[in-house]
């Protein structure tokens, strides 16, 4: 009998003989790699499942039984909202080999990319495609979140007072439709983005008042932005993977209609940019195929792929078979943490886990029963951080309490960090609630990772005399409740798991949508109706732009408010994203902001 099986049998025996607490069973079960439903069975068999737990677990098994598709979709989702660890990347990437020019690079996506208009799409999967077809003025350099490199602009910089930014374009840039990409075209593209007002328009709209007068082209090579106020963050925003891609104005003119003056409907299914690859087949529900754009202004010297393919495979197990079988070359955050762990041993693959700007948290309902900051602190102390990070997520979630990660601008390295302390938790929660009080945690059904987290929390709360009712609802219903106008009293005490990263490197951009008081309800993503006047004041001060010193000082204070003084959520930690890739691929550079993206032009295979 394999060691793990022996340990599993021992676990069951120990559980049956009541030698283990409920928490021990869960922790040891997870460490053994047992499925959550199996752990649930052990708990039920030894009589350690509370009535609410039993309900949850039966829900869990029925979800799994309803088909691998649902659990796998969840796995993909939770994986994308989960991975990992330290300040650096971990990788088993091989080096060397003889470079090969040409060939195909195939990426697998867990779902379709419905909207291919870069100025309305607001998800990183779409941005992954855009990095092949479209270009921005500048982009983040390599693995850095603070340095930039040229894309369409060879030079750029602010005016002495910081209110005007000038970008100088490279020569001979062409769109895929053969038209010239000059400064006027770039201006028109930004104007389209801002006037259309969809998806990521505020990425640039935050800084510019009037697109018609404040974005100009004094000559064919120069683009100028006049900002509302001097704000150094503008540079980061221009390099965001959401929105600032340049689209062909001629294509817009050609396909616009009276009802659709920006040709948005056409751009949803068609792509005309300046990037190194041109759309060859666009069928977003199945696959998107890109081929080399022969007139690309950087040329095709050196080693590059001929073709990039994005393939949609919804089932997690199938994705794993495809990457192991070599049918696809890469995927990002689209497997279970356990599978990623196993694939590290596969010599035909490279598994690159890298730090991101992605933080995961569970929101506390600060607008209703958990109004008292001490109670919310109590929940933060009750959270099983180590078990979640190492047990459930296999090290793909690492310690960073608070809304920002070390790679995000404004992160305070002295941020207050919660550790599991059940005595403190009991003391703080008891200030408002009597033993036996039941709290609620709502999460999306089929999300095994979050369910494991909630059950570990349930075990901890039971240990200090409180109960937790775990309610599973359909993800869309959860999203609807979260972003709808239902008042705090109709919301659960603890809400889901939310993974968030900024649109560009800016701590304000991470905090504002989620914790600013006016972002509550349908106005934003403040799903817990958190309201801290001092935090609001800080955000309002930072928004128009302040000096770097003030920015860091104010955001440090904001992080202290959101952790030590008045936590709006339980911040589990930083997510480490991972890319699993064919071992023969070279030239991949991860970036903590450009999650799920590849800069295809620099990539190739070796023999």
């Amino acid at each position: 009998m394999p060691d793990n099986d022996i340990r599993a049998v021992r676990l069951i025996a120990d559980a049956m003989s009541h030698r283990l607490s409920r928490r021990d069973i869960i922790t040891r079960g997870l460490a053994l790699g047992l499925s959550f439903s199996t752990i649930g069975w052990v708990l039920a068999a030894c009589g350690k499942g509370s009535s609410s737990t039993a309900t949850t677990q039966s829900g869990s098994s029925s979800t799994a039984a309803s088909g691998s598709s649902s659990s796998s979709t969840t796995a993909a989702t939770s994986a994308s909202a989960s991975p990992a660890a330290s300040s650096g990347a971990t990788s088993n990437a091989p080096t060397g080999g003889t470079p090969v020019n040409g060939g195909t690079f195939t990426i697998v996506f867990p779902g379709a990319t419905a909207d291919l208009d870069p100025q309305s799409a607001y998800d990183n999967q779409a941005s992954c495609v855009f990095f092949g077809v479209y270009e921005m003025l500048i982009m983040l350099k390599g693995n850095s979140t603070f340095e930039y490199q040229p894309m369409l602009a060879k030079e750029w910089g602010p005016s002495s007072d910081g209110t005007e930014w000038t970008f100088t374009l490279f020569d001979n840039i062409k769109f895929h439709d053969g038209t010239v990409c000059d400064a006027a075209a770039v201006v028109k593209s930004f104007q389209r983005m801002l006037k259309m007002g969809l998806g990521p328009h505020d990425v640039i709209g935050r800084f510019v008042d009037n697109p018609d007068t404040d974005i100009t082209a004094p000559d064919a090579k120069t683009v100028k932005f006049k900002l509302k106020t001097a704000n150094p963050i503008f540079e980061a925003a221009v390099a965001s993977e959401y929105g600032p891609f340049i689209v062909s104005p001629d294509a817009v003119d050609k396909h616009k209609t009276d009802q659709d003056p920006w040709a948005h409907q056409w751009f949803i299914q068609n792509m005309v940019g300046t990037g190194p690859y041109i759309a060859d087949q666009v069928n977003p529900q199945e696959q998107i195929v890109l081929k080399q754009f022969k007139d690309y202004y950087r040329g095709w010297d050196g080693n590059h792929f001929d073709q990039i393919i994005f393939r949609v495979v919804e089932d997690t197990a199938t994705r794993q078979q495809l990457i192991v079988g070599g049918s696809v070359d890469a995927l990002t955050n689209a497997l279970t943490p356990k599978a990623v762990d196993e694939l590290k041993q596969n010599k035909a693959l490279q598994v690159i886990a890298y730090p991101s700007t992605n933080v995961n948290w569970s929101t506390l309902n600060a607008g209703d029963r958990l109004k008292d900051p001490d109670v919310r602190k109590g929940f933060c102390y009750a959270f099983p951080y180590d078990d979640v990070r190492n047990g459930v997520y296999k090290g793909l979630v690492t310690e960073t309490n608070g809304p920002l990660t070390p790679t995000t601008r404004g992160y305070d390295k002295n941020v207050f960090i919660y550790k599991t302390d059940l005595d403190k938790a009991k003391q703080l929660i008891s200030k408002q609630f009597k033993p036996g009080e039941k709290f609620s945690w709502m999460l999306a059904s089929g999300d095994d990772g979050t369910k494991s987290v909630a059950t570990l929390m349930q075990a901890n709360l039971q240990q200090i005399g409180f109960d937790l009712d775990i309610r599973e609802v359909e993800r869309s219903a959860e999203t609807n409740l979260a972003y709808g106008d239902s008042p705090p009293a109709q919301r659960p005490d603890i809400f889901g798991d939310w993974g968030w990263w900024p649109d560009y490197n800016d701590g304000y951009n991470e905090i504002y949508p989620n914790f600013y008081s006016k972002s509550a309800g349908s106005a934003g993503s403040n799903v817990g109706y958190y309201n801290n006047p001092r935090l609001d004041q800080i955000l309002e001060t930072v928004a128009p732009g302040v000096s770097d010193a003030d920015y860091n000082k104010l955001l440090a204070e904001a992080q202290n408010i959101m952790t030590e003084l008045d936590p709006p959520a339980i911040f589990w930690g930083t997510i480490q994203w991972y890319t699993v890739m064919n071992a023969k691929v070279r030239g991949f550079e991860w970036n903590p902001i450009y999650l799920n993206s590849y800069y295809f032009y620099n990539m190739y295979k070796v023999k």
Binding site: Y122, G197, V312, T479, G524
Partner: protein, 336 residues
């Protein structure tokens, strides 16, 4: 008589579809979810969500949305899909043929394998071959389709490399000129044999997995029907008159035994069309099952409604075909 039957059934189809549309529309709209928010994503501003809600008419009262939708249906306008952002009619034109091709192939496999298996099992009851037939039948019913699909994919694609992992055609292969929209048939019609083999290779595994679930139903129906028929007097008479066993079985016994099987086969087409969602997902098969699932997760009302109505229509239509086939198979039957 046939004309009367057709008219009656077509009238009932209209009522069935209206009822179905009301139920589906009501169910999909009472669920507390906001498709506009799902389209816009969690990062979108309230204004953007409002704009999208207006753009897709989601800000209108439900009954207005329903009436508008039903008006469109008469011109085959199913609205715009909220998940693909394309007209639903375009999507159906793309996905329905893939599902039809897969389902028909699966059905063909289950008929070709199931009927002989049922006959042999009935002719040699309680022998080794009958036991094998029963084991296959029980397996077909007991094995979950997603498990079988994953195991087949693991064995025939990942381990042995004999078959492709899924999809209708390899990514860089252009489909044949569209005539029936069924790739295998179109490839044959256009005389492109290599493409026919490629399409067939891609079809084999998903069709086998899907058909394996239907096979036992057909086998058991044929076996039971044959056992019953073979014990009847007219079969004894046929044998005593010196007819060959082959003629007795194939011409006299099987024809009668097939009547209930035909009903089952007709119903299985509906089951296949609506039940291949998992197969389509695992094999990345671009059919309406996969489309429907995306629609459900995105609360894409228009896609859900269209798929439901089409599957409902197919069910009703298959019922009609079954009734007509009765008239042909057994002239004694009358619907008057």
């Amino acid at each position: 008589m046939l004309a009367q039957l057709l008219v009656k059934r077509l009238i009932s189809v209209i009522f069935v579809l209206i009822g179905l549309s009301i139920i589906t529309f009501t169910l999909s709209h009472i669920v507390p979810a906001d498709p506009a928010r799902l389209i816009a994503g969690p990062r979108a501003s309230a204004d953007t969500v409002k704009l999208i809600r207006h753009q897709y008419g989601l800000d209108q009262p439900v009954y207005v949305q329903y009436v508008k939708y039903m008006k469109g249906i008469f011109t085959l306008d199913f609205g715009t899909s909220l998940s693909t952002l394309r007209p639903v009619r375009t999507d159906l034109g793309r996905y329905l043929p893939a599902t039809v091709e897969l389902s028909l192939t699966a059905l063909l496999f289950s008929i070709v394998a199931g009927i002989p298996l049922g006959i042999v099992s009935a002719l040699k009851p309680n022998t080794l071959i009958d036991y094998v037939g029963r084991i296959i039948s029980v397996s077909g019913l007991a094995i979950p389709v997603f498990w079988l699909a994953l195991m087949c994919q693991f064995l025939f694609f990942a381990r042995l490399g004999w078959l492709p992992d899924g999809q209708r055609l390899p990514i860089n292969t252009a489909p044949p000129r569209s005539i029936t929209h069924l790739y295998t048939i179109d490839a044959l019609i256009t005389g492109n044999l290599p493409l026919f083999w490629t399409a067939l290779e891609h079809l084999v595994m998903p069709a086998f997995v899907l058909g394996f679930g239907v096979l036992p139903v057909i086998t058991r129906m044929v076996r039971a029907g044959m056992l019953e028929t073979l014990g009847l007097d007219y079969i004894r008479t046929a044998r005593s008159k010196g007819l060959s066993e082959r003629t007795t079985v194939m011409r006299h016994a099987l024809r009668n035994a097939l009547l209930p099987t035909v009903t089952v086969i007709g119903m299985q087409i509906g089951v296949l069309l609506s039940g291949d969602i998992l197969v389509e997902i695992i094999f990345s098969w671009p059919g309406i099952g996969r489309y429907a699932i995306t629609g459900v997760t995105q609360f894409d009302y228009n896609a859900i409604m269209a798929v439901t109505l089409i599957i409902g229509f197919i069910y009703v239509f298959m019922n009609l075909l079954v009734d007509i086939s009765y008239l042909i198979l057994d002239p004694r039957i009358s619907y008057s």
